[in-house]
Amino acid sequence: MAISRRDFLKVIGFTGVTSAVATIGGVLIGRGEDILKEIKPASKVRWAMAIDTRQFKTDEDFQKVIEACHKAHNVPNIPDPIRQVKWIWVDTFEKAFPTIEHEYISEEIKKRKFLLLCNHCDNPPCVRVCPVKATFRRPDGVVVQDMHRCIGCKFCMAACPYGSRNYNFYPPREFLSQVNPEYPTRTTGVVEKCILCYERLDEGKQPYCVEASEGKMFFGNLNDPNSPVRKAISENIVIVRKPELTTKPMVFYII
């Protein structure tokens, strides 16, 4: 029995439509599964820091904190101000908070010094630009620099709005007066920054700077309402650096 032209077209049309639907549907369902795999549950821990700038008065207060960090992490002391390496440093209100700065704010605030470090942003621009994923954000919010992967392209230095990153122009070992044998140094040609002492956090300790500050800095889990940071933030007026950039900094300054 010969099939009629009309029936033939019906069969062809039906097959075409079914296969098209199946293909598109299959692709969409497959995509959905992939996307579901990529969504990870939010971590219960979100490390954050609050710095009580009222309590930092003398240069000694700052030096103690800076030295504790730089000694422990073998940060070289390079005299060249443009090519120096620093993990934690001090600057004025005008430099630290350029968009909040105003000519009529109190003289005391204008003269006050601020302890600056990597802000461990929730939305870190340095992580987005890194071409080799050397910089990454851990689930607990710490932005870590993996020196093993860094190729020294300096993209992150251009991306960071806080100047937290430094490139090793000079061989860092030549600028160390003493060395902590438990921590590595860096090599020429990598970028480095504060890592919020993630190794100590994993062992249940606090960062070196917080320990050395003797109660002038608060550290803890931002998701825990009873943590020292949460208390410090809720009981005081805090500001963050350059909030308009929506990087969501996790270092809070108590004013």
Binding site: V144, H148, V179, Y183, P184, D202
Partner: protein
Amino acid sequence: MYNSDKVIVGIIIFILFFAMPFWLNFGKAKALPKPELPSDTKECVESREYMRAFHMKMLLDWRDKKVREGQVYYINSQGKFFKMSLQNTCMKCHKSMEKFCDRCHTTISAHPDCWRCHIAPEEVKKWQ
């Protein structure tokens, strides 16, 4: 082939000449590296054979676990815990880079770049 007798003799002489190091050292094992093993401890993280074959893979694995995944301890095949750290675990027993790591690495011309950043036990003395 023209002049095949001369060509074949030539090839044989050529091979013999270029394989000279092989003939001269045939049957002898010269310059075997002798890394200095720690005297106070007998057991490494894993068995000696495993470490010999896979120490480089283990170190890379430790690096990734510690830096990127935030793990602190390595559990070995006997269930023992070890802190994952080149400077603070490996080099606490193997007290010398030159007498342990470098002896094999130099022999086989391997040049791992660990010590460009990590501080070898010998180098600590430079600062003291």
